[in-house]
């Protein structure tokens, strides 16, 4: 019978690796102990030996492939008398290696979940093997607990009896555990690899760098796992623009005639957000499975677009900082971000974020929440619009703000009240002094 040769784990923590070199080719006969391939991780390289004998029917993963998930099929081994091709049944749409890997792994999961005794290794939705003691597996099976949703408290994160005994059927991994949950609900078919849909040579490939991978992973988790809802409000910027103009004109100039500061509309929005958060602690909060964390300071993140991605550095304790301080700090952090010099303590945490695409003339958009925060505002352009005031049409500078909120933490009314306060601060900046 044809069997799949799976990507081996060189260490208990290995999740993926590089298939550095094939030492056999299709049609070669192998026996137990034959060295099949060289596998590399960022830490080690190792020869991979055959366990069974047979003929290499098909090599599924090409030499030099990186990021091959552990337990993904990398080749097909044929038994005696089997012919290459005949026994290998790879659905056409799955011919691409990555799609094939994911499908195989989730199929294996499903099969194992059905088994009455889950004694075989279980895999997480992203293909990583779940380490659990035999007793934990047995108890989990009898209580209907999904092991891949638990975090283990045993040695090297192994799931042990007490973890399972404390879990409720269907319990999910606590979000507070730090790392973003690996994937969305299992059972959703993976998207086919885009390369399948375009003729080769019709595109240029840019391999993912670590920031692209982080953005993909974090935002997929955030958008999949957080129940987002959206609130939109228009803010009249006439007063703010006037105040800003006066303040900027009053900025002391140095010898080179460069003013000491130049406040942007966004600096006002940052400050207004901080002040509004202090008035609405329910919004300045984070979700965990067991509790809501209400933050004591207004740590406001600001999304900074980079040539190679984006990052959200944080103005900590923004409620204690003046407009000039906020303005200068944002500039410094944005500069560091562009040089890739931000430290984790400058972008991790925070209670709220501001994303502003106004400078591009965007009128209105929605953002994805930046966990562990619960809310983010998407700020559009301040532009002259006709408004109706006392029954007359007038012209005012108006900006549209849309807040994305985590409904687990912030209910609609709570979010609306916060936006009301934010709008008031923005429309009358002097009221922030009250």
């Amino acid at each position: 019978m044809a069997t799949n040769i799976l990507m081996p784990a060189l260490s208990p923590t290995m999740e993926e690796g590089k298939l550095a070199k094939w030492l056999v080719k299709e049609g070669d006969t192998v026996k137990s102990g034959t060295i099949l391939a060289e596998i590399e991780t960022d830490k080690a390289a190792m020869e991979f030996e055959a366990v069974d004998e047979g003929t290499i029917g098909k090599i599924l993963v090409a030499e030099g492939s990186e990021g091959v998930k552990v337990n993904a099929p990398i080749a097909v081994l044929l038994g005696e008398g089997e012919k290459a091709g005949a026994a290998v049944d790879i659905p056409a749409a799955m011919k691409d290696i990555k799609a094939a890997m994911k499908a195989e792994v989730s199929a294996a999961d499903a099969a194992k979940a059905d088994a009455p005794k889950a004694t075989a290794p279980v895999a997480k939705a992203d293909g990583a093997r779940v380490f659990a003691s035999p007793l934990a597996k047995r108890i989990a099976a009898s209580k209907g607990i999904d092991l891949s949703a638990l975090s283990g408290s045993g040695p090297r994160g192994r799931i042990v009896k007490s973890d399972v005994e404390n879990a409720k059927p269907g319990a999910a991994k606590p979000a507070a555990a730090g790392a973003a949950p690996a994937a969305g609900p299992s059972g959703i078919a993976p998207l086919p690899d885009a390369r399948l849909l375009y003729p080769a040579g019709s595109y240029e490939e840019t391999p993912h760098d670590s920031m692209r991978k982080a953005i993909a992973k974090r935002l997929t988790s955030a958008k999949t796992l957080i129940p987002h809802y959206y609130l939109t409000v228009d803010c009249n910027l006439d007063s703010l623009m006037a105040v800003r103009e006066k303040m900027n004109a009053a900025a002391p100039k140095g010898k080179d005639k460069v003013p000491a500061y130049k406040l942007s509309v966004n600096d006002f929005i940052m400050k207004a957000s901080a002040m509004a958060l202090m008035k609405h602690p329910d919004v300045n909060a984070s979700w965990t499975d067991t509790a809501i964390l209400r933050h004591k300071d207004a740590d406001v993140g600001v999304a900074v677009a980079l040539d190679f991605g984006l990052i959200t550095p944080i103005i900590f304790k923004a409620q204690t900082k003046g407009l000039v301080e906020i303005s200068n700090e944002v500039k410094t952090l944005a500069g560091l971000a562009k040089e890739k010099k931000l430290k984790p303590n400058q972008y991790e945490g925070g209670g709220f974020s501001v994303s502003n695409l106004g400078m591009y003339g965007i009128k209105n958009f929605t953002s994805i929440i930046n966990p562990p925060q619960s809310c983010i505002i998407a700020v559009g352009a301040g532009e002259e619009r006709p408004i109706v005031k006392n029954g007359k049409i007038e012209i005012a500078t108006v900006m549209t703000v849309t807040m994305s909120a985590d409904h687990r933490v912030v209910d609609g009314g709570t979010g609306a009240k916060f936006l009301q306060t934010l709008k008031a601060f923005i429309e009358e900046p002097a009221s922030m002094l009250l």
């Binding site: 005794k117 035999p134 007793l135 047995r138 009896k161």
Partner: protein, 466 residues
Amino acid sequence: MSDTSFDVIVVGGGPGGYVCAIRCAQLGLKTAVVERDRMGGICLNWGCIPTKALLRSSEIWHMLHRLKEFGISADNFKFDITKIVERSRAVSQQLSNGVAGLMKKHKITVIAGEAKLAGKGKLSVTKDGKAADYTAKNIVLATGARARTLPGLEPDGLLVWTYREAMVPPSMPKSLLVVGSGAIGIEFASFYRTLGAEVTVVEVLDRVMPVEDEEISALAAKAFTKQGMKLKLGTTVTALKKGADNVTCTLKDKAGKTEEVTVDRVILAMGIVGNVENIGLEAAGIKVEKTHIVAGKYGETGVDGVWAIGDLVGGPWLAHKAMHEGVIVAEKIAGAKGVHPLNTANVPGCTYCWPQVASVGMTEAKAKESGRKIKVGKFPFIGNGKAIALGEPEGLIKTVFDETTGELLGAHMIGAEVTELIQGYVVAKSGELTDAELSHTIFPHPTLSEMMHEAVLAADKAALHI
């Protein structure tokens, strides 16, 4: 002037203390140990190790009487109690030197003297009336325990002994009364009985080795009685009247009936009390209950930077438990990740009497009390080839499983070499293997360990050789 400032100072150089110090040193902490006597503590100098040396001698003596059985003849063999004791002392000496060597190897400073907490991060060590001050970011208390005494039952070192005198008898007593049938009492009873002394064991509870499984306890009692030991169960000693070279003991049984027994020597083995005195616990605000420090699951005492391990804290009062706690505390101090508290259900217990007794986890009765549905497997030594070949056909291995989950709740053994076997079940229990994995494990033939396999199979009525 030697160094007086350390990352960690461990108070007490017993198995908990010296192991803690080694682990601290391995983790890069500047470490010292304070010891008032010899490195290795009671275990190495006056407990586990020297008694094993004594029992080895008595085991050989016992085997000499069985030579014919094995087709060998010899006569006129004798023992010399002085030489047996000398060997036991030499074994202790060698190992204590070994521990001192380990301290040197790990660059651990050994401070001789008695230590006392002297304020936050401070320790005062007194040696020959002179006090010296030391500072340490962390202090680990590992001062151990000593024999419990009761009013009217105080040792005098001559006629009424504790383990300490019993370990170094100047001559062979003809008759002995052992008070207490826990591990310490029963090991001495076994040693002296095998060498020919008339031994009476008094136990206040209604069975010997009361912490063990009832069935094992009963088999042990049967074996001891067959060897000629007198067991007085449910009995207390109410008075000791010392003569010139003997002691008359008044025993009272449950029904209130008293009797007098006159013996050469009395050994007191009524448990232990923690060494909590004169180490500055009260002033430091460390809580003591029933002579033991109340410590958290990682050895925290509630006072910042002060930790406690071993016999000084909760039971079981065993060297390997103290050693493990020493490692846990060292790793906690060093900020290591993934440190797990000790699980007492996985601490094995071994008694080196003859026949040996070993166990881990719940007794059958305890498992039943816990409300679980259980299944029990048993396999006798008589069904094992290696046991027959060794001439050790008496004994039993018993397993207790949770019937629903297959969890190994406990394992209990009596017979030859069981103290070396129990670790197999401890590994299985710690790794949370169930009956299924144990059933599918291949045990080597011919070994005594096959009985462990059979005892697992027997829980499903699938034992092969019975």
